[in-house]
């Protein structure tokens, strides 16, 4: 077996982190995307820009601010301590918070595009049939936006798996808590354990290719992320 227990631990941790992050982002991201797709408020621009920020910011910037904000002197850190949760830096929950921030645009933007593509008409039709807004959302919008949800889930999951800089800044490299696959690979390379690095890095490459293949093959010529 070329992968040892710590490699398998890192893989399991990464899957756990990516799944939880994707689930949280689908819950949080759906209302944000819905609002962004439908609103005419002037806030649409600024909020859309904030959501998209992680696309362009280097992970070191996000990691650095998270380290300060989540730390004992930061405002989130003070809040979590006041709530008796202690500091979340160097913990799995800290990584989840970081990943939610970091992968946010990869979930919100496909959803926003999918919601936007539905248009006004199906909603108006549903309304004339006396469907309540909730009924409309669950039975009209969600089925129509299904491809968007699939894309959002795949991208959110895959992007979290590929996360490195943020984890490096706030993780502390703790086995089974914050040492994810990307950090484990970096460790192997630094320790000159190239054969182990190869196995893990190769697995990441195959995984990433398969994910993108799923995305592009399932799309059949539709452009964009919806």
């Amino acid at each position: 077996m070329p992968l040892d227990a710590s490699d398998l631990g890192a893989i399991w941790l990464t899957i756990k982190l990516a799944s939880l992050t994707t689930a949280i982002l689908l819950v949080l991201g759906t209302p944000i995307a819905w609002w962004l797709a439908r609103t005419r408020s002037w806030l649409r621009g600024p909020i859309g820009a904030v959501v998209a920020l992680p696309l362009v910011l280097p992970p070191t910037v996000i990691g650095f601010y998270l380290l300060l904000a989540l730390g004992p002197h930061g405002w989130i850190g003070q809040a979590t301590q006041a709530l008796g949760l202690g500091s979340v830096v160097f913990s799995f929950s800290g990584l989840v918070i970081g990943s939610v921030v970091y992968s946010m645009p990869f979930v919100v933007q496909p959803l926003q595009n999918a919601f936007g593509a539905i248009g006004q008409r199906p909603l108006e039709v549903a309304a004339t049939l006396r469907a309540s807004p909730w009924d409309t959302f669950v039975n009209v919008v969600l089925p129509l936006a299904r491809p968007g949800f699939i894309t959002a889930s795949i991208l959110g999951f895959a992007h979290t798996v590929g996360e490195f800089g943020v984890v490096l800044m706030i993780g502390g490299n703790i086995p089974d808590k914050t040492r994810v696959v990307s950090v484990q690979i970096f460790d192997h390379v630094e320790a000159m354990e190239y054969s182990q690095a190869h196995w893990l890095a190769g697995a990441m490459l195959v995984f990433s290719f398969l994910v993108l293949l799923m995305l592009y093959a399932g799309r059949r010529g539709k452009p964009g992320w919806s």
Partner: protein
């Protein structure tokens, strides 16, 4: 007009020559993260005294090893240990005979809080802290030394769940300085200025608690024909650099 043109040509030529000489006298140095502050001080004197230019990159020694093996353009390597330069020598990546010890590192247990660390390091045995920050022991010699100290003090088991790792000694320092870890093993050079600990509180770890952190320097093959590389190594062996190195808490 003709005069002006020839004048312009001459000055263009002159600036080309200047550029060329500046290029030839530049030395690319890979510097172990713990030596960041001293090399910056040394670089200033070195540039003033010799006219050469020093371009430094900072990182973990293991990481530099991988980069050098893969063709990184470094000409001089100031490592944080002696085994990596020795390995490079075996693998014929360095100028034969250029390896020497430029500093012996000192490990310190440090907290950003004044008065938190006592003079004997007994704070380690108390169970009052949540996180103990160290550098990655696989890649950073100061991290390895930290684990040796914990072993000697029979604290390895007790601290296991509290250890957080920075990828290099700079990050180990950063976790402590931002207050995210109450305690950490750092290089004395990071917290030492002009003969004393400049902030927070620290225990200077006795040298017998870990293997000596011999920091070796080498001229890499890429620097073989660069006079600035040779000049830098000579400068590091000189008294002026030695004074700076000592002032940051290294032994020589």
């Amino acid at each position: 007009m003709r005069i002006r043109l020839s004048h312009m040509a001459a000055s263009a030529l002159a600036s080309l020559i200047c550029l060329n000489s500046a290029w030839a006298d530049e030395v690319q140095v890979a510097v172990a993260a713990n030596f960041t502050a001293p090399i910056q001080a040394i670089a200033k004197d070195f540039e003033k005294d010799t006219g050469h230019k020093l371009v430094a990159a900072y990182g973990a020694t293991g990481q530099f090893y991988a980069q050098i093996k893969n063709g990184a353009p470094f000409e001089v390597f100031l490592a944080a240990d002696d085994s990596t330069p020795a390995k490079l020598e075996q693998e014929k990546e360095i100028v034969a005979g250029s390896r020497f010890t430029y500093a012996i590192g000192t490990l310190a247990l440090w907290s950003a809080k004044p008065g938190y660390v006592d003079a004997k390091g007994n704070v380690l045995k108390k169970n009052e802290y949540k996180h103990l920050s160290i550098a990655n022991p696989k890649a950073a010699p100061y991290g390895l030394a930290a684990t040796q100290v914990l072993d000697k003090l029979k604290l390895t088991e007790a601290t296991k769940a509290k250890i957080v790792e920075g990828q290099n000694i700079t990050q180990a320092f950063q976790f402590v300085s931002t207050g995210n870890a109450e305690l950490g093993f750092v290089a004395l050079s990071q917290i030492y200025k002009d003969g004393k600990v400049s902030e927070g509180s620290a225990w200077i770890v006795p040298a017998e608690l870990h293997d000596p952190i011999r920091q070796d320097a080498v001229i890499l093959n890429k620097g073989k024909d660069n006079p600035a590389a040779k000049a830098l190594v000579d400068y590091l062996k000189g008294p002026k650099a030695a004074a700076v190195i000592k002032s940051y808490g290294y032994e020589l």
